[in-house]
Symmetry: C2
Subunit: 406 residues, 2 copies
């Protein structure tokens, strides 16, 4: 029998307990032995709840418990979980986490520590919630070189953008509704400013490049400036606006970005709506792959954490290699990236816009918007775009992504 401790009895933590109980028989079959939660660390007590008898308030009771083989960290934050995870790994326990902030900040160090102790540090649920993506990258795409990953990796912002797109609701109204439904936090910054998705693409890019991508070095724009007018234009030309977290290799250099993009109906992520996540991967041999599923939620995320628990139990004292070194990857400059842009400009001076872009733009106008117009550029570098657009009285610009399935 393998014994597990869970750090944090919040949404995911209680989900982990629930999954291991409800699917105990199949988990036992796959893990090769029974898997039981022995201790749950939480500041709170849960009087009357059966979990109460497993609640501990002192991490040392877990770190020093020789019976505990695997520790699940689902507390959130970085500093405290880092301290706890490190102590558990040092004590020879494997750790599984859904905490993308921890993984982004300390991943390679904790992987190296796990390796030195011949245990495992696993983090499937840190990207894409229930969608298997980390394990497929590490164990299925082993004969491939990844060329590109583009994904909708944040359910909160996708819910907001989908509602705005389909119902014409305002950003503020949908955010408020999402908060009431529990899809968005009271302080939504990490989601709406793109930081959460940016951490996830940083993790995936680190995994396929083998080096460390720090999310603070990745160009990151959120969705707070996306307006109904932007969606009205998008609709007119058959596009939607999605927050994409994306990276790709070009001429040996890796470029990464998290930002809202216009995509058309041929884009593999066009139909990924609501709280769903979708991740597109291109490998140099396998070509295009797509993974869809619940990017968040108690049970889907817990299921991914528990798959890690099963893997850890199967591999007690058998470190599974993860290729992610602490060496920082030298990312390419966003200014050098080549793509098309959608631009809204004040006034009606389309000729000036034509001149600024040497005539190579496609103008879009909406009847309702009498004091502005918009256009799509041809593909150009961000630098060229910024130079050209500086001559105009720009309202906003949204990048265009043209990934298609081949």
């Amino acid at each position: 029998m393998a014994k597990v401790a869970v750090l944090g009895y919040g949404t995911v933590g209680s989900g982990v307990v629930e999954v291991l109980e409800r699917n105990a028989d199949s988990v036992k079959l796959k893990a090769g032995e029974e898997v039981v939660v022995k201790s749950v660390l939480d500041l709170r007590d849960f009087p009357g709840d059966p979990i109460q008898e497993k609640i501990v308030h002192d991490i040392d009771l877990i770190v020093n418990d020789p019976e505990i083989d695997v520790v699940v960290e689902v507390m959130g934050g970085v500093d405290v979980p880092y301290k706890f995870v490190k102590a558990c790994l040092e004590a020879g326990k494997s750790v599984c986490t859904s905490n993308k902030a921890l993984v982004e900040a300390k991943g390679p160090e904790l992987i190296a520590l796990a390796k030195s102790k011949n245990v495992n540090f696993m983090f499937e649920a840190s990207v894409g919630g229930g969608i298997p993506i980390i394990r497929p990258l590490n164990t299925s795409l082993t004969a491939d070189k990844v060329n590109k990953i583009t994904g909708i990796m944040n359910g909160t912002t996708n819910y907001i953008l989908t509602k705005m797109s389909m119902e014409g609701a305002s950003y503020e109204d949908v955010l408020k509704e999402a908060q009431e439904l529990g899809y968005a936090e009271r302080n939504p910054e990490a989601d709406v400013e793109g930081h959460d998705a940016c951490r996830k693409i940083s993790i995936l890019t680190s995994l396929y490049s083998g080096k460390t991508v720090k999310f603070k070095n990745v160009t990151c724009e959120g969705i707070t400036k996306i307006s109904n007018e932007d969606f009205a234009y998008a609709k007119k030309i058959g596009c939607v606006i999605k927050l994409l977290a994306s990276s790709y290799v070009k001429d040996g250099k890796v470029y990464a970005i998290t930002a809202p993009f216009m995509i058309d109906k041929n884009h593999p992520l066009y139909n990924v709506n609501g709280v769903l996540n979708g991740i597109y991967v291109n490998g140099n041999m396998v070509g295009d792959l797509m993974f869809f599923g619940s990017g968040a939620g108690k049970l889907p995320t817990a299921a991914a954490v528990c798959a890690d628990v099963v893997d850890c139990v199967k591999n007690l004292s058998n470190h599974q290699e993860v290729f992610w070194s602490e060496e920082e990857l030298d990312l390419g400059d966003t200014n050098d990236e080549v793509r098309a842009f959608f631009v809204r400009v004040k006034g009606k001076d389309t000729k000036k816009a034509m001149d600024a872009f040497s005539g190579e733009i496609n103008i879009v106008e909406l009847n309702d918007l009498t004091d502005e117009f918009a256009f799509f550029t041809e593909k150009m570098t961000e630098k060229e775009f910024n130079e050209s657009v500086s001559k105009l009285d720009m309202i906003t610009r949204i990048r265009v992504d043209d990934t298609v399935l081949n």
Copy 2:
């Protein structure tokens, strides 16, 4: 250095050699050692081709070569590959195959043999080509119980149906074109009669149920009777027709089928077109998942085979458990399955159809088709449907699948 033998230098076999050469550096990193093709078994010679120096014509040269750790079987057929694979496993070599016919016919026996020799028998490429689906089922969905798998698992038929749907071409014309393009075999029976897809859902269902599903026991209908008139009706009501290979658990019983289905735009497989494959999986904890990608093709299939090779090299003398026993699964009766049906009837006697189905049908008529009409039924068992429809002069019926992402 790990040495590999490849049985069969056809499309996939030459792809395996190419992938291992072109991605030699990353394969070495992931496998933990260099992976080199030492021998290639083929009846033919390839004078002038660098592969010639590795060509052998006698399987015993591979079986008895102590240097060879991993054997790739990509010959096709069942009897000869079975003999060869068995001999290789008995000689203590791991085997990777893309051969779904072999896996469907002999999977559990070869898995058990591999286990007894503490080596591995892997078959990721046997379902979904380059799409990671077998490994995610075996290693990522370990904390889940699978409720349902529905997929477009045959690229040839999906290419044909997509062309018929989008261009209004006839079945015969598109099949001929697919044969000229190399998407369909000269004898297309295994594809167009649904046997290939049916073998794949049998394999996946065996894996999630842990018992053996024989494809001959699965209800299987091909696409040869699908006509342009069917697509005209489908178009009118916003549906497409897809060959789905599907199984699900209901009240503890597993039901499996491979057949053409009408699906609407909310179905997760609606946009899986051309030679793409798409596989929907529902787990009791993770909920809905989708996997898309190239279901066939030289390099995508070879990439999946090579991922198995890497896994085998990482796990020489370390059997990876696969839960698939030889015990046959007692499948549920298709007659008991509940779904809606699309029906075309000769003549214009809609009242008779109404009477046959107690009024609970939705009639669809096309202006061009003056001597027939069609309708959708409510959900009912196949048995009930067959009884009711026997009173009518039916032209054809297509089942309706209503899987939606939640």
